[in-house]
Amino acid sequence: MGTEKTKRFVYLALLSAMAIVLSIVESVYIGPVFYMVRLGLANIVALVTIRLLGVKEMIIVNTMRVVISNLMRGMIFGSTFWISLGGVALSSIALIILDKMKSSLMFTSVICSICHSVGQVLVVVMFYMQPRVAAVLPYLLLGSVPMGFITGTTAKLVLDRIKPLRKDQPE
């Protein structure tokens, strides 16, 4: 039992570190793939975490990723922090619901990618009181679908190689 707990902690620490690094690398070195659509590399870690460890751990990893990556880039509590928090919050909610519904990994990834974009746009609309920004949504929706497939495929490749610690592993 003690070994199991230690293993979970080690996994949680590693996954959190990976999510933070991927988030920083993506925002600083990779940038948008086209228009405003980003790959969402850190979403791979969120998908892997919920399948490997569970819902609670996924929330911890996502929260750590937003707070620490923004803290390390000197943007904590700035507009970009709230925008990424909005995106992560909505995608985490979608992830939890789809996990309960036992959806496939690929579909979960696509919906999370979409929810991430929608969450960010919602925060921008509220931040700037500018509903016209919502016009970017169709572009983001179209871009999020292929990005969701890419992150979902990557997460599947990872999960095929690691034995989950979670007892009630969905599909």
């Binding site: 600083v28 959806s103 979409i114 920004v133 016009a135 929706l141």
Partner: protein, 145 residues
Amino acid sequence: MKKKEWILTGIIVLAALLMLAGMKYFPRKEGTNETAQPVQTEDPDHSVPMPEEKAEGEWIAVVNRAKVILYFDSAVDGEYEVEGNVGHMVIEVKDQMWHVKEVDCYDYTCQHMGWIGTESILPIICLPNDIVIIDAATASEMVTR
């Protein structure tokens, strides 16, 4: 992926395509503006007043921290420099289109947005600098005086 999930993904893509088609074929109505020389603020605590002269094209406002810091005419070619939260931004206006030529920030999304005109749906937004470049009529709704 299950069949139902494929269908749902297809519906989302279709909805996005329909929204894009709707935006392309039913563009928003152009607002009518009055007033030709760019007006820039000296006082960062207050919005610059809307120019009274009629613009040759349309008056475009540069909003920072909910204050209009510059009005420029979309039909007058030129370059304008404004200060944002992180650093300076250079806006170039040419052939009734404008874009961010230079910007001091870590993101450059506003620069990547390219040339924007009065027909464009999206305004130019620089989040790190808290700058929005938008038509004057809409700007007046989002600023505090």
